[in-house]
């Protein structure tokens, strides 16, 4: 951290370090690299869909591979590692401990990511990020599919190791003077999301193994030709990945809990309701997985049960929104860049949640399921809420990591363009879904409404693309040449910032 650019160390010292700030830095850099790689694929998809017919990508196979790797990359190689980066920097400091509980394990968990990423990218599989059988067993070409399966397997192990580390650090290593009720909400968010990981990921690990042996032809768990049932895979997959969306969103909410009170210059409205909502979400998150499967032929009773389970998660999310708004109410708000991202993220969180309620209502789901509505809906979450919270927090931790200040004007331009772009792309995709455009299609018939909507979405995506280039330039330039930051209060909002010197790296 800081200090790398002011007091350079040889790169291998950072790479082989096990100190939490060094591992955090590695997580940070690799997750941002994957953000840009995955984002480039998104732009390619959008450019192809600007007009009906084949233009720049040229053939359906390449297109299918591109959206598969785009989704896999951004979920598993950007968002999750980004949260780990933040957790690595802040969790030990917040619980007042010198490092993570198991520093070597921490470094190992990170170093599993590059080989996994390489497998996913070099394989370039085409079976979507669900890898649904029987397509993934009988039709998806190897070795791409096998490489994807191995890549995900490694990532799963990595996130389980990371989760164990966070749980032990928070529960066992926190300062004896600090009760669990005093641990900051950001650390609480890591505690709850790590618990979800521990419960959910082993299920998917089992499913992946079964998928692999099915592909090898030695078993037939999910292959109807051998007496298996593809729906069993869907249950295992969604039992992991519905809760997993809370693994993604909870740390982002935790980051907003750092930013919002700081820049409103008010304490958080209700610490207890924040903790309660985290815990509630991580439990209720498990009661809703099959709402992804309304159209697979479930019985009326099953559908009803999962609809109720899904709706039950809404009040918990709504509590966070209330907490944020109540904290800002009457605050002396300073709209620095991190605050703008957090507030924008909350607004998009709210709209995504409203769309989610519509999806949960089973008869409505039949109009939207597997259309662009769904693409728009989950992107409002992943891009609008999670990426916004994360990017806001990245600006917030910038002075902490580099000891310098980013360019505020460029940060604000980045925000405004991304916000406008996000609305243009993902609101439009909701409408496209209502017009009936299915997702994961390489080409579409020249229906005038579809063309118009796709063009708006593509323009929006390009706006985001340009803003990301500005962001990259800002980060690179400012980390080397930016103004030296006031490390006690870099944003001039008063109060306590987490000072870099609280995370003394032994090798400095």
């Amino acid at each position: 951290m800081v200090l790398e650019l002011q007091k350079p160390r040889p790169i291998w010292q950072i790479m082989f370090s096990t100190h939490h700030t060094d591992v955090g830095l590695l997580y940070l850099i690799s997750s941002l690299a994957f953000l840009f790689l995955g984002g480039t694929l998104a732009l390619a998809i959008r450019a192809e869909l600007f007009l009906p017919g084949a233009q720049i990508i040229g053939d359906a196979m390449t297109f299918n591979r591109i959206f598969t790797v785009h989704g896999t990359t951004l979920i598993f190689l950007f968002i999750i590692p980004f949260a780990s980066a933040v957790g690595n920097y802040y969790v030990p400091i917040m619980v007042r401990y010198k490092d993570m509980a198991y520093p070597k394990l921490n470094a190992i968990a990170f170093w599993m990511i590059p080989p996994a990423g390489a497998l996913i990218w070099l394989g370039f599989a085409d079976f979507t990020w669900y890898a649904t059988p029987p397509y993934s067993i009988i039709s998806a070409p190897g070795p791409a599919a096998d490489m994807w399966i191995f890549g995900l397997k490694i990532l799963g192990i990595s996130s389980v190791l990371g989760a164990i580390n966070f749980i032990v650090t928070i529960l066992k290593c926190k300062h004896p003077d600090m009760s669990i009720g005093q641990v900051p909400l950001l650390a609480w968010s890591f505690l709850s999301s790590s618990l979800i990981i521990l419960v959910a990921i082993p299920t998917f690990a089992a499913a992946l193994l079964m998928l692999l042996t099915d592909r090898l032809g030695v078993s037939g768990f999910f292959n109807p030709a051998m007496g298996g049932d593809p729906i069993a895979y869907a249950h295992l997959f969604w039992f992991t990945f519905h809760p997993e969306v809370y693994v993604l969103v909870i740390p982002a909410i935790g980051m907003m809990y750092e930013i919002i009170p700081r820049f409103s210059r008010k304490p958080i409205y209700s610490y207890n309701s924040g903790v309660f909502a985290f815990v509630l979400l991580s439990i209720v998150g498990f009661s809703s997985w099959a709402h992804h499967m309304y159209a697979t032929g479930m019985s009326f009773t099953e559908k009803t049960v999962f609809m109720v389970g899904t709706l039950a998660a809404v009040p918990a999310s709504a509590m966070h929104v209330f907490n944020f708004v109540a904290t800002m109410w009457n605050g002396r708000i300073k709209f620095s860049t991190p605050m703008m991202w957090a507030v924008g993220g909350i607004a998009l969180f709210f709209s995504a949640g409203a769309g989610g309620v519509a999806n949960a209502a089973m008869p409505l789901d039949f109009t939207t399921h597997d259309t662009y509505w769904v693409v728009g809906h989950f992107h409002l979450f992943v891009m609008g809420t999670i990426a916004f919270g994360s990017i806001g927090f990245l600006y917030y931790m910038f002075p902490y990591v580099t000891g310098r200040m980013y360019n505020e004007t460029m940060g604000k331009i980045h925000f405004v363009m991304s916000f406008v772009g996000t609305v243009l792309v993902f609101f439009t995709q909701h409408v496209l879904g209502l017009y009936g455009m299915p997702r994961r299609i390489f080409d579409y018939p020249p229906i005038p409404e579809w063309i118009a909507m796709n063009q708006i979405a593509t323009v929006g995506a390009m706006v985001i693309g340009v803003s990301m280039a500005i962001f990259l330039a800002n980060m690179i330039y400012s980390s080397g040449k930016g103004q030296l930051a006031n490390t006690e209060d870099p944003f001039g909002v008063g109060g306590k910032y987490y000072y870099p010197f609280e995370a003394k790296n032994p090798s400095h």
């Binding site: 109807p224 298996g228 032929g297 009803t304 109720v308 009040p315 709504a318 039949f366 399921h369």
Partner: protein, 143 residues
């Protein structure tokens, strides 16, 4: 913490919970009506495979890629798949049901006006998924 009262939050949570109950109840009621297959509905066997749809009527006639039905009748569709998962969808009539190998799913609809509608596959099923389309042709025998 402390120093502020909690009642606005309680009211707000109450409103959210009430809203969710209302949404759930409405959805439950609508779904119950939608799932009730009318008596005397004609059965059509729909089969999805990479990458087209085939239809078999009760009287044995088969069609590929096109489905002819009549206004005013109710049809019960039995959805099969020969290879991978597909999803049978007539967007204009909100007909959506997955075609899963090894299973038979049913869904019904009753066309109201003569005309043509798109049929499409909505579940990713490989290379030509994007173009796994068909036509629903609703005829009015009295016209």
């Amino acid at each position: 913490m402390g120093g502020h009262s909690n009642w606005p939050e309680w009211i707000y949570i109450g409103v959210v919970v009430a809203l969710m109950c209302w949404v759930g109840a409405e959805a439950w009621e609508a779904e119950r009506l939608v799932e009730h297959v009318p008596e005397g509905a004609e059965t059509i066997i729909v089969t999805g495979q990479q990458w087209f749809w085939t239809f078999e009527h009760e009287d044995g006639t088969k069609e590929i890629g096109e489905l002819h039905v009549e206004v005013g009748k109710a049809y019960k569709l039995e959805i099969h798949s020969k290879d991978v998962n597909h999803s049978f969808n007539i967007h204009d009539y909100v007909v959506l049901m997955d075609a899963i190998p090894g299973r038979v799913n049913t869904v019904w609809f009753a066309p109201t006006d003569a005309g043509e509608h798109d049929i499409q596959c909505r579940e990713y099923c490989g290379l030509i998924h994007y173009n796994m389309r068909g036509k629903l042709i609703v005829e009015d025998p009295t016209a």
